[in-house]
Amino acid sequence: MSMMRLPAALAVAALLAVGAAACGGDSDDDGATATQAAAGATTGGEGGGAGGPVSIVASVPPTDHGWLGAISKNAQAAADEFDDVDFRLLEAADADSQAQQIEQVISDRPDALVVLPQDGAALTPVAQRAEAAGIPVVNVDRLFTAPDAATATILGDNYQIGVLAADYIARRLDCRGNVVEIQGLAGISVTEERTRGFVDELRKACPDGGIDIVARQPGDFNPDTGLRVMETILQAQDRIDAVYTHDDDMAQGVVQAIRNAGRDDEMFLTGVGGSQDAMEQIKEGGLYEATFLYNPNMAASAVNMARLIALGEGFPELVPPEVPRQIIVPAATVTSENVEQYEQYAFN
């Protein structure tokens, strides 16, 4: 029965992925491989073929952050949907302990692994070992650095997040004004991509310039760091029109700094992620105007993919039915106009 009831979301996600890859192809090299069939799809499922339960282990960083919290919740929820999935969720405090954890898991020989690595590069070798041991790995969100480290990959498009934010701000400011960017954690690909997409698109959207990025500082995805950084930037800049922040949770600190300074009428702000708080503030109107999200539901898709791979099956909509090698979940812009549509995806 599970065969027949392939969740609609997954099918949609897969199709969207093809689309996203197609239009994002010029900016994201990896997009071109989106429709490549999963290499390990037919070799991985020793345990599952007989119809017995499929064992899937998911390994994620500590889920103390809103978006990551939603990831683990969604993964668990997706696994609960299936009777034939024996699911285990492991959290690791840092990259080292995550590697050790996976090492441990390899010896348990699960049918599939879902990994959201703390640090893609650091965890690539252990993922390769899992693959070499015949355990298919589904890589979520943060990329491994070698192609043979994962059977399938599902990730958000951080570059596109930046692009959407630039589009929104450029249009809203009519290509004229001072913008502050509060980044996430410096030095990780998520942050770099969100900044790169933003800068590239701003250049495209306003070919004659007009928008100055007057400050760009990391806020470490923490509300209290966001607060401190924004307080200081407010001292230095006497005219700010828009603030592009990399994360909704962190943005709460930035919002607070602006309000404490009594300058909330002077500017507007955007976030990333789609937290409930952010959506509520968008609905209310005012300082918080928009957020850009790629859905933490991708974790559910990852579990579904892992299950199909373990069972040696594929997406029936694809011809032949197989599991795509890479799925890129599209990003979307949420504003007061369409916030109702997205509220169901909000996480807290």
Partner: protein
């Protein structure tokens, strides 16, 4: 300064000649003066590089407000380090205390309840450190490293990893919050000076008095300087060690109130790595990590140094990588000009 009449016992070897004043400029005192120079230099540099926005009353006020959170922690840390201990858990305790207070007043409660809850909870966590170190004889590094993890875990558990909004507590609002609302502690002002700055300066002054002008303060430093000698001189060694970790916890609670009051919410991920800033401020201030030598004035200047560095570099919008190099260089430079005798 003393009015030391150089009248020795007359018959014995005469007291060595030499500048009485210059002599006292040694050790801790000299370090304090050197750090003043660093603070002034940073301020001057800021004023030159950002003449419009840096040397303004508004900016000074902002820097002091920002410094207040880590500043309060650093005063507690000075006491802990004076006993040759360390408290790695203060950042996590800030988060846990804020979350505890937050959960207590959610959905309804008063500022008083929040403040009391945060202080009590942080003090309780600090007491666990204290008991582990003083009675369990666990090395401070390990005991507080465990608390670092436990307190962070508790902060996340308390509200299922979610922050708690505190904006409305007792009529708090932006701009000019009602006196004794929670936001008033963060952004309210008396005579133009933020309440949190009063709290910070109050803790500094109280810390100075306790450390330098009470028997207890003397005991704290004695325990760090030579535990066996202190014991033989009648210092209640265990009780003294116990007390500094409790104090550090209590001050983490104060810091939590100051932080939440500015943030308008309690966040389980706040306070990350505050312990490093606090320890850094204490050590560049001239307090010895080996214990036995402690200076509140130095810690205060250390906190100001870090606040100035942060403000200056953020205002200049230096990129992170450059910031890290510059910050490290300033810290190293500040330590080097302070102790020529400590260099090998």
């Amino acid at each position: 300064m003393t009015t030391s009449p150089a009248s020795g016992p007359g018959t014995a070897a005469a007291p060595p000649s030499g500048g009485g004043r210059a002599r006292r400029l040694s050790g801790v005192r000299l370090q304090e003066y050197a750090l003043v120079l660093v603070v002034i230099a940073l301020f001057v540099a800021g004023s030159i590089l950002k003449p419009d926005s840096f040397p303004t009353w508004d900016n000074v006020r902002n820097m002091l407000t920002q410094a207040s959170v880590v500043g309060v922690l650093a005063i507690g840390m000075t006491f802990v380090i004076a006993t040759a201990g360390i408290d790695l858990s203060v950042g996590s305790m800030v988060a846990a205390a804020g979350m505890f207070g937050g959960v207590l007043v959610d959905p309804e409660g008063s500022t008083l309840l929040f403040v009391f809850g945060a202080l009590a909870f942080a003090t309780a966590l600090g007491s666990i450190n204290a008991i582990a170190v003083a009675y369990g004889r666990v090395v401070p590094f390990i005991a507080t490293l465990a608390m670092f993890s436990i307190a962070r875990g508790i902060a996340l558990l308390l509200n299922d990893k979610l922050p708690v909004g505190l904006l409305e507590l007792n009529g708090g609002s932006f701009g000019d919050p009602a006196p004794f609302s929670l936001m008033w502690f963060g952004t309210g002002r008396i005579l133009g000076i933020p309440v949190s700055v009063y709290v910070f300066l109050g803790v500094v002054v109280a810390g100075w008095l306790v450390l330098n002008r009470t028997r207890y303060g003397r005991y704290v430093v004695a325990v760090g300087g030579n535990r066996e000698a202190a014991r033989i001189a009648g210092v209640p060694v265990r009780r003294t060690i116990l007390s500094v970790y409790v104090l550090s916890g209590l001050l983490a609670g104060v810091a939590a109130v100051l932080l939440c009051a500015r943030l308008g919410s309690a966040s389980p991920v706040s306070g990350n790595l505050y312990e490093l800033d606090a320890i850094g401020a204490v050590v560049i201030g001239g307090t010895s990590l080996a214990g036995g030598r402690a200076t509140i004035v130095g810690t205060f200047l250390g906190v100001l140094t870090f606040a100035l560095i942060f403000s200056l570099m953020t205002q200049l919008d230096l990129s992170t990588e450059v910031q890290q190099v510059v910050k490290g260089a300033i810290v190293l430079g500040a330590v080097l000009i302070q102790r020529p005798e400590a260099r090998l």
